[in-house]
Symmetry: C2
Amino acid sequence: MARPPDPKRRQELLDGAVDYVVANGISELSLRPLAVALGTQAPVLLHHFGTKERLVEELLSQVRDRLRALGRSAEAGTRRSGLGAVWTWVSDPAQGPLMRLFFEAYGLALRHPDRYSDFLDHAVRDWLDEPLAAVDDISATLAIATVTGLLLDLLTTGDRLRVEAAMERFAFLLRWHADQTASVPD
Amino acid sequence: MARPPDPKRRQELLDGAVDYVVANGISELSLRPLAVALGTQAPVLLHHFGTKERLVEELLSQVRDRLRALGRSAEAGTRRSGLGAVWTWVSDPAQGPLMRLFFEAYGLALRHPDRYSDFLDHAVRDWLDEPLAAVDDISATLAIATVTGLLLDLLTTGDRLRVEAAMERFAFLLRWHADQTASVPD
DNA sequence: TAGTTCCTATTACAGCTGTTATAGTAACTG
DNA sequence: CAGTTACTATAACAGCTGTAATAGGAACTA
């Protein structure tokens, strides 16, 4: 036989595409401008990824990986509680484009659940299982929702003072609740 | 002069377009299919609304009106607290398409703040000012975020049991906090 | 009734979309 | 070296996009 496939090239294109999508969004993604930004042509992308839909799938999967990786590194880098650590990196202005992409994809996925089923399956679960795993599922659910909602508010209004005050109040309430249930077992 | 403009026709088209967008989404809206669904042609829509961009603007404004109207009617129809009332109608499966559209538009607006500035300006404010106006801005911010986040979770996972348990826990925490600050004035 | 304006319908345009076909070149294997 | 395969590049396709131009008919005013 002959020339084996070069996995590096594919990954290179994929990484570049993720960067492009983080910067330019995914709802209006078009192959030709993407290809130009990557220094190639649209047919090359199709040769490597088969179809646009499959490329988008892979992109979202990569985005998911980036989010989880960031979550883990932030968790390890700080001494704060899970909630505080998550909020710190999630609300970091540097992560703005990535979080915006997250919500953009979220909106699309809710509209086309069949197309983005993979994204929907993990959008909540990834947080429930790892960085925000609280004592129980209920508190974890509440924590995820609050972080998500406050982040949405922050990205929308930019009113960091008000949003972070709400975040601190929530952390306070949650801590009180944990103490309460701990001191009265059963 | 001659034949005066007929405002009914325009409103008729606009209402129909809102229904269409609630059902089919707005991120991939196209004039021709929309026109067919309304029993007209694309140029007619452009004649009435000038350009697609302006039509979309008006659509989102109408969506905003529908959300606020629903909020008010639900508030009046139940005897529950602001938080509980809002959650009741917002999580009603019948409002699913409308809420999905809300999040879809939210994602687009975050990506193109210039295009959807009007939507962004009111997305949080509408809730802060009216249906969820709590004792203070901080609690209101927290309540909005939690409702938003839990709704997102519900639409994503469909796990009503877990989500509503979290909602009740949040209401409990908030009530306790209100009592606490009331009994210790200053 | 004459004149003017609104509304609708048809046709057409240039530009973009994802995708396919074709061909050429480079890199590896036996 | 010969043969096969991976990758790239060019051109072209049918279909869709928002929008403009044009013309016909309907409804109102003076």
